[in-house]
Symmetry: C2
Subunit: 391 residues, 2 copies
């Protein structure tokens, strides 16, 4: 297998974007090509979940190639629910590692604000089991709510811990010009103030408004290439060193221990093994905080903290920028936003930026190893990536 | 790059199937695993275009893994319009060739008859350009009609040539138990009989009913693996020897010569080059005859016949089973049917069957090299595969 490097990155603002989906997908590729100092690619992967349903657009990958005048490069759309982004990066890795292509662009994009929040929630619910969950009205917030209640009872996590994740990530997002949410909040403000029940209503008890990520438009891109191409860029060498992926039962209620996220555990372990590092070597991580509880649980399952102790590490400030293991310096899904297909690529964008030392006000102190966890379904299909700075 | 072999194949009937999409995708994988004599896979790729829109199902790949109890194998949906199937096979190839995985299942599935023909046509039109084609009501049949008229005027193709493709492929389909259309037709019957205008009405002049493939449900699967795994099966060794892919302008009207299919030409040339063979080495081919004209034009662009002479070779019977280069012995999209995401995988199914000598009544005489052309968009993104029998 050939080594594969992330040689260029690009991103759009994550907000409401009044551009067609194909342009939201294309724009960050232009930025990433400029960042890498190259003009041509061999192949393109586009991560997207909602094009056919929400935007009446299929064949999106061919449309993006055309928009960028990159024909005759081949292209595909990769869909793995909310983990589409990391799955597309995996395909890009395989294309370069195999020797088939030397330079591959990966872009993730979603244009979800074309529909309202209820329709967006309904759309995302199409990733649940068609016969055992979807037809009964199960949504992702409802699954997350039940999961959160069970976790609180078992491990002593409280609403204040959940709020701490929201506060940390929204504060980090204040330092990210591309983030969807630019709103400073405090634990007291969203939990204890007289307005809390109005401004932070319950969405799926015990999850409240500020525990859920927003519905966003946006795109992000990473260019992957061989070492030979990477060296020519003269930029810091960031290698995609490890990839892990695992599925779990499609129905959450079929899991032996419903508070475990086995697919996260397996995908992370695989990714670290391939990279030849351990979780404690990680200097910066982007975890999939579609709901605040997920950041806490993932921080345990990937091995940063012991099972059931993620909320204690959070309390101690260990996941802050400047802490032992900074999590979601970008703002995460909670603060940066969650255009579904773009999220996994945006996580990689942040890690490459951090490993290069180019993250400005939110720069983590000199990380060598970066890690992303992109969570498909409700932990049905998880992809974890490990990046390593080499010079 | 490691060599990659097709070690198992499976297919459903292509017709109206009253099963959920996830089961249509899963069933042929079961058949293919049985065919290969194995029970486990490392990864799954699912080719599908309409799940989110037509079937309210996303995260389909995770659902299929779960249906087959193949967790924790990772999985993704691959979408490249009507060429999703061959694109998914390409991803499977890369996963094995790179050394990442040893055994990968690829399945293609579509459940289109959930909606009526008009809605299905509207859905397929979502692969046209969103701003320059789709919003003006352009559909695939309308693009194909204009293309056909131009081709007839330039190269002397007549309605009788188009009908000959339909007759050949529907007759071949009579020999395929899994084919959607089991109806014997003749050129005279569909063109000259008093009932022809009623039974074979114009869809998009000059294309008539029998020039268009049906709207089908169905699934097909191919298992790809290393040579080491392939040898253990004790079955004929069929290697996936060549892959080519190319895009063209998204808008058909932007092409310099609108009667050329440059992406077909480029993808075929790449595929042959990688396999180290030429078009005249091919013993059996499956071309993408969504409209009868496409089989004629593709047979030229891939190099079987000179440009503008495909209809003459057809007239001479060279593309019949038993002819110089048998095309679509399975019945093609016209006869076997066209469940969009399944088609490219079904083409590979037929080629593997033929190269093994297991195609029964429609067996082509001892082919050593087989070829597929899977046509995405209206030639926007084409994937060609070359298979070689090694023993």
């Amino acid at each position: 297998m050939r080594d594969v490097y992330a040689i260029g990155i690009g991103i759009t603002s994550f907000t409401r974007l009044e551009f067609p989906l194909s342009e939201i997908a294309a724009y960050p590729v232009m930025m990433a090509l400029k960042d890498a100092g190259i003009k041509e690619i061999d192949h393109l992967y586009v991560a997207n979940m909602g094009g056919a349903r929400v935007n009446h657009q299929t064949g999106l990958a061919s449309a993006v190639v055309d928009t960028l005048s990159l024909t005759p490069a081949g292209a595909e759309v990769i869909e793995n629910g909310p983990a589409s982004g990391a799955s597309a990066i995996k395909q890009g890795f395989l294309a370069v590692a195999s020797g088939m292509h030397d330079v591959v662009a990966v872009t993730g994009a979603e244009r979800m604000r074309e529909v309202n929040s209820i329709e967006a929630t309904e759309f995302v619910a199409t990733l649940t089991h068609p016969l055992a969950e979807y037809i009964y009205g199960v949504t992702l917030p409802s699954l997350a709510g039940m999961f959160t209640r069970a976790y609180m009872e078992k491990y002593g996590v409280t609403s204040r811990h959940l709020a701490m994740v929201a506060v940390k990530n929204q504060n980090n997002a204040l330092l990210n010009e591309f983030a969807h949410i630019h709103q400073a909040i405090t634990v007291e403000g969203i939990l204890d103030s007289p307005e809390a029940l109005t401004n932070n209503p319950f969405i799926a008890d015990p999850l409240r408004f500020f525990d859920c990520c927003p519905v966003s438009d946006g795109g992000a891109s990473v260019i992957l290439a061989t070492r030979e191409v990477a060296e020519k860029t003269g930029r810091p060498l960031v290698r995609l060193a490890g990839i892990g992926q695992a599925t779990d039962t499609h129905c959450v209620h079929e899991r032996e221990e419903p508070t475990d996220l086995l697919a996260v555990r397996r995908a992370a372990a695989q990714s670290f093994k391939m990279a030849g590092v351990g979780p404690l070597d990680v200097g910066v991580a982007e975890l999939h905080d579609a709901f605040t509880i997920l950041e806490i649980v993932e921080s345990e399952e990937v091995g940063f903290f012991k099972k059931g102790e993620g909320h204690l590490a959070l309390e101690r400030g260990e996941t802050q920028i400047g802490g032992k293991i900074p999590i979601n310096p970008s703002g995460g899904l909670k603060g940066r936003g969650h255009p579904v297909g773009a999220t996994g690529v945006a996580q990689a964008y942040e890690i490459v930026l951090q490993l290069r030392g180019e993250a400005g006000k939110r720069q983590v102190a000199d990380p060598k190893i970066g890690f992303t966890c992109n969570f498909g379904g409700f932990g049905n299909n998880v992809v974890c990536l490990t990046f390593a700075r080499e010079n």
